[in-house]
C-alpha cells in the first residue's frame, strides 16, 4: 500500500499533467509488479467485486470512532466522500507497522466475500488499525469503488508506455477488453508481441470534438463527409475467428443485451470490426433512446422488448477488414470498403449503414441539420475524408455538430450539497414548473454554473431553507434557471410524467420572476414535438 499511497499523494498534490505523468511512470517502474497490475486495473475502471456494503462500512466506522450514526451522516454530508469521511473520523491507528501490499490488500478483501458479517467487520477493523490516514482513505476507496485519481486512462497508458518502452497504441489496445487483474501478470499485460491472437478485444474508440463555431471554420466542404449523429449506444462489433462480441464505449461487453445480433455471427466475414451505433429501430428510423434504455441493466431481455423495439447496428466505420487492421487508411477508403462489405450481406440482418449525407455546401448542411430531430438524431457528425481512425479524442478530424438544446425556465425547490471538489457548496438542485397554482418537480440538474454562482446560491440557501431532510434542503421557490436538455421522454415513474435527457443549468435567470416560469403543459407540448 505504501507505494500506492505515495503515488496517490503525488497525483493528488498536483494539478499539472506533466507531474502526474512523471509520478505514474516512476510508479510503473518501481512498485511491486502485482501492485502495478492492480493500479492499471483501478485506473481503467476495473475494481474488485464488493465484499462489504457502504452501510456496513458506515456502521463499523462510526462504532470504531464511538460516534452516533447521525453524526457520521452529518460529517459525510459535509465531506461529500464516504471513504474520506471514514478515514477522517477513525481513531489514530494503534499498530501502524509495515502495511500489506496493494495486491495482498485486494486479495484479502476479495477473500471476505461470503463470510459472516462479524468476520468481515473484524477483518476490516484490523486493517484500519494498521493504516495511516492516506492509506486508510485508499483502502476505503478500494471497498467503495469510485477510484478517480484525476488520471485519465490515456494518461495512464502514456505513463505505462514510457515506463516499459512498449508502443502506446499497442498498450491502449491491450488494456481494453476482458482481462482480469487477479489472473494477469504484469509481464503479459505489457508484452511486446501481439501475435497470440486478438480474441474479442476492441480497438480504442475514436472520439469526436464538439463543433462550437460554424462549419465554415473547417475549410472546403468537399474535404468532409457528413452523417447523422445518433442518440444510441456507441458500440464496436467484433467478428473474429472464435470470437463474436459487442463492446460499448465504456469498454463493457454488451453482446448478451442484444440477442438479435446473433445472426451477424453467422454472416459477417471473419476478421471484421465495425464501429457504429446501436439503436432501437422503428419502421424506418430509430426509436427514442428511452426504448433502448429499457434493456440496459437487465440480465435477460424480455421477448416483448425484442418485438417492440428491436436493436439495430448503424455502421459508420470499418476498422478491421479481412483480418487486416485498416485504421491507418483514409476514412473515405474505409467507408467504401464498409459499403462493399455490407452490400454483400443477405437482407434482413439487424445491420445497416449509417447513411452518408450528401450536401451542396455549408449552408445546405446547416439546413439539413435543422431537420435532425425528425430523423431521431441529435445533429450531425462531420468527418474529414482523408483522416485515419485515430485513438481517443484528437481535435480536427471528427466533429459533432449537435442541435441547440431545448430549454425551459424553472424554479429551484430543493438543494443538496455536491460531492468531491464541491463538497462545501450546494450544487445539486431539483427544479419545478407550474401546474396551475402548484409547482411540479420535473428534473434535477447539477452542472452548468460557475463556482462563483454556486457559492452565491449556497449563501442564499443558507438563508432561505424551509425544511431539512438529511442533506437535502427545501428552499423558498424564488431562484429561476434556464434548464437546457437534449431530449424529452414520457416517464410514468416520474410525478411530472416526463423525463429529460442531459438536463443542465444553462443560465441563472435573475431577471425572471417565479410567476413567469414555464408550465407542465408547455413541457408536454415538447413531448409531442419529440415524438415527431
Amino acid at each position: 500500500m505504501r507505494d500506492f499511497a505515495a503515488l496517490f499523494a503525488a497525483l493528488d498534490g498536483t494539478t499539472k499533467t506533466g507531474a502526474k505523468l512523471a509520478a505514474l511512470t516512476a510508479y510503473f517502474q518501481s512498485a511491486p509488479e502485482p501492485d502495478r497490475v492492480w493500479t492499471i486495473a483501478l485506473l481503467s475502471g476495473r475494481r474488485p467485486k464488493r465484499s462489504v456494503t457502504a452501510t456496513e462500512l458506515r456502521e463499523w466506522a462510526a462504532g470504531a470512532a464511538g460516534l452516533p450514526l447521525w453524526l457520521f451522516e452529518e460529517s459525510y454530508a459535509m465531506v461529500g466522500d464516504l471513504a474520506e469521511t471514514i478515514a477522517l473520523i477513525l481513531p489514530a491507528p494503534l499498530h501502524e507497522d509495515e502495511p500489506p501490499s496493494l495486491d495482498q490488500t485486494i486479495r484479502a478483501l476479495m477473500a471476505l466475500t461470503g463470510q459472516s458479517s462479524e468476520a468481515r467487520r473484524e477483518a476490516i477493523l484490523r486493517v484500519w488499525d494498521r493504516l495511516g490516514q492516506t492509506e486508510r482513505l485508499l483502502f476505503n476507496k478500494l471497498i467503495t469503488g469510485g477510484f478517480r485519481m484525476g488520471v485519465s486512462q490515456g494518461l495512464m497508458t502514456r505513463a505505462l508506455a514510457q515506463a516499459t518502452g512498449v508502443d502506446e497504441a499497442v498498450l491502449a489496445h491491450r488494456l481494453m477488453g476482458d482481462w482480469l487483474p487477479q489472473h494477469t501478470a504484469f509481464a503479459d499485460l505489457v508484452a511486446e508481441d501481439t501475435a497470440t491472437g486478438l480474441g474479442s478485444r476492441p480497438y480504442p474508440f475514436a472520439l469526436a470534438a464538439p463543433l462550437e463555431d460554424g462549419p465554415e471554420t473547417l475549410g472546403d466542404p468537399q474535404d468532409w463527409r457528413a452523417e447523422w449523429k445518433w442518440d444510441g449506444i456507441r458500440g464496436q462489433l467484433i467478428q473474429r475467428e472464435g470470437a463474436f462480441a459487442l463492446w460499448s464505449r465504456g469498454e463493457e461487453l454488451i453482446t448478451d443485451r442484444f440477442p438479435e445480433f446473433a445472426p451477424l455471427a453467422d454472416f459477417l466475414p471473419r476478421g471484421t470490426v465495425i464501429d457504429g451505433e446501436v439503436v432501437a429501430w422503428g419502421a424506418d428510423r430509430p426509436l427514442p433512446f428511452a426504448e433502448l434504455q429499457k434493456r440496459i441493466g437487465r440480465k435477460t431481455v424480455p421477448k416483448r422488448l425484442l418485438l417492440d423495439a428491436p436493436a439495430r447496428l448503424l455502421a459508420y466505420d470499418l476498422l478491421e477488414d479481412g483480418g487486416e487492421d485498416i485504421r491507418p487508411l483514409p476514412y473515405a477508403t474505409r467507408r467504401a470498403r464498409m459499403e462493399a462489405m455490407v452490400a454483400a450481406l443477405p437482407a434482413g440482418l439487424p445491420l445497416g449503414l449509417s447513411p452518408d449525407i450528401a450536401f451542396a455546401g455549408w449552408a445546405d448542411l446547416a439546413a439539413i441539420r435543422a431537420t435532425a430531430r425528425a430523423a431521431q438524431a441529435e445533429g450531425l457528425m462531420l468527418k474529414r475524408a482523408t483522416s485515419p481512425y485515430f485513438v481517443g479524442r484528437k481535435r480536427g478530424d471528427w466533429w459533432k455538430w449537435k442541435l441547440d438544446p431545448w430549454s425551459v425556465d424553472a424554479v429551484m425547490i430543493y438543494a443538496q450539497a455536491g460531492h468531491g471538489r464541491r463538497a462545501n457548496l450546494f450544487t445539486d438542485f431539483t427544479f419545478a414548473v407550474r401546474q396551475g397554482n402548484e409547482l411540479v418537480p420535473f428534473t434535477k440538474a447539477y452542472s452548468g454554473l460557475t463556482d462563483a454562482e454556486f457559492a452565491e446560491i449556497t449563501r442564499w440557501v443558507g438563508k432561505n431553507t424551509l425544511e431539512r431532510f438529511g442533506p437535502v434542503r427545501r428552499v423558498k421557490p424564488e431562484l429561476v434557471f434556464e434548464i437546457a436538455f437534449e431530449g424529452i421522454q414520457e416517464s410514468p415513474r416520474h410525478k411530472s410524467g416526463i423525463a429529460l435527457r442531459f438536463p443542465r443549468m444553462a443560465r441563472w435567470r435573475r431577471d425572471k420572476p417565479v410567476d413567469e416560469i414555464d408550465t407542465i403543459e408547455g413541457l408536454r407540448d415538447l413531448l409531442n414535438v419529440a415524438r415527431g
Binding site: 494539478t15 499539472k16 453524526l71 452529518e74 460529517s75 465531506v79 471538489r421 464541491r422 463538497a423 462545501n424
Partner: protein
Amino acid sequence: MADPVLTFTDRGIYCPAGDFFIDPWRPVDRALITHGHSDHARWGHRRYLATHQALPVIRHRLGQIDAQGIGYGEAFRIGGVTVSFHPAGHVPGSAQIAVERDGEVWVVSGDYKVEPDGLAEPFAPVRCHAFISECTFGLPVFRWRPQAQVMADISRWWAANAAAGKTSILGAYSFGKAQRLMAGVDPIGPILTHGAVEETTAILRAQGYALPDTIRAGQGVDAKTHPGALVIAPPSALGSAWARKFGPVDEAFASGWMAVRGIRRRRSLGTGFTVSDHADWDGLNAAIRATGCERVFVTHGYTAPFRRWLAEQGYDAGIVATEFGDDAEEPLPEVAE
C-alpha cells in the same frame, strides 16, 4: 430563577447587570473584546476593553478609539459583576472573558485553540457554570495533527521548492496564522511578507513576541534579490498577479479547512496544510469538559450537530446566533450551519 448573567441580543452578547456587550456587532456604549479579528473587534463602539496584548493590533485596525487595557487574570468590577480575561490560545492577545455575579460564572470563549502554538498565550480552562463556545470545526472529521508535524511538512515543502528554483508562496490569514507560521518553520532562507502581513508582524514584534526577521516584498525585493524565499501572504493574494511576479512559484494554503480533500481541490490548490487557529473536534470537547460547566451555548460553526452531540453527552446545550465567523479563517461558504 434569577436573570441569566448573559443574554443574547441582536447587537451581541449582553450583560444586563454590568451593562456591557462582548464582541458586539452593532455600535454600543461599552464593548469587551476577546481578540483583534475583524468579526470580533468592530468599529464604532464608545468604549473598548481588551487585554494589553490585544490592544496594539486593535488600535492599528480601528484607529482612534477610547480603549482600556487589562491584564490576564486581573479582576475588574463593572456594575454588579466582576469580569476577567483568560488566555484563549487563538492568536496573540486573545482572551476568553469570564463574567461572575454572586458566585455564578459565565465564560465567553471567543475563538480558541487548545494546542499551544509557541506564540499565542496558551489556552487556560476556566471553571464556570455556563460556557459560550465557538465550534467552527465542530464535526469529528476535523482533528489536527500536532503542530510540529505540520510545520515539518511545510519546511520540507519550502526546501523542495527552493531546491527546484521556485518561490514558495504560503497563503495565511494576516493576523495570527501568518506569524505563527513564520515562527514555526525551519528558516532555510529569507521570509518575505505581503504588506498586509508585514504591518501586523511589525506591531507584534514591537510588543515583544518572538518573531523571526521578515522582509516586506515589493520594490527591489523579489525572487531575484531573494531566491528560494518563503513568501507569506493573505489567501486572497494566491493566484494573483502579485504572486506571479515571483517567477516560478509553488503556492500553498494553510487553513483548518484543508483537512478535507474536496475543499482543497475546489480551490485548485495542489498543496494545502491543515493549520488552524481554532480548536479541533477533540479540542472542543476537551475544553468544554475542562470548564466543568453544565450549560453550553454553541455559536460560530457547525452549531446544530455540535449542540445535539453535547446534549447527548448530558449537557444542557443551546445555540446562539451570532455574526462571528465571516472573516477569520473561513475561505468558504459553509454548508451546515
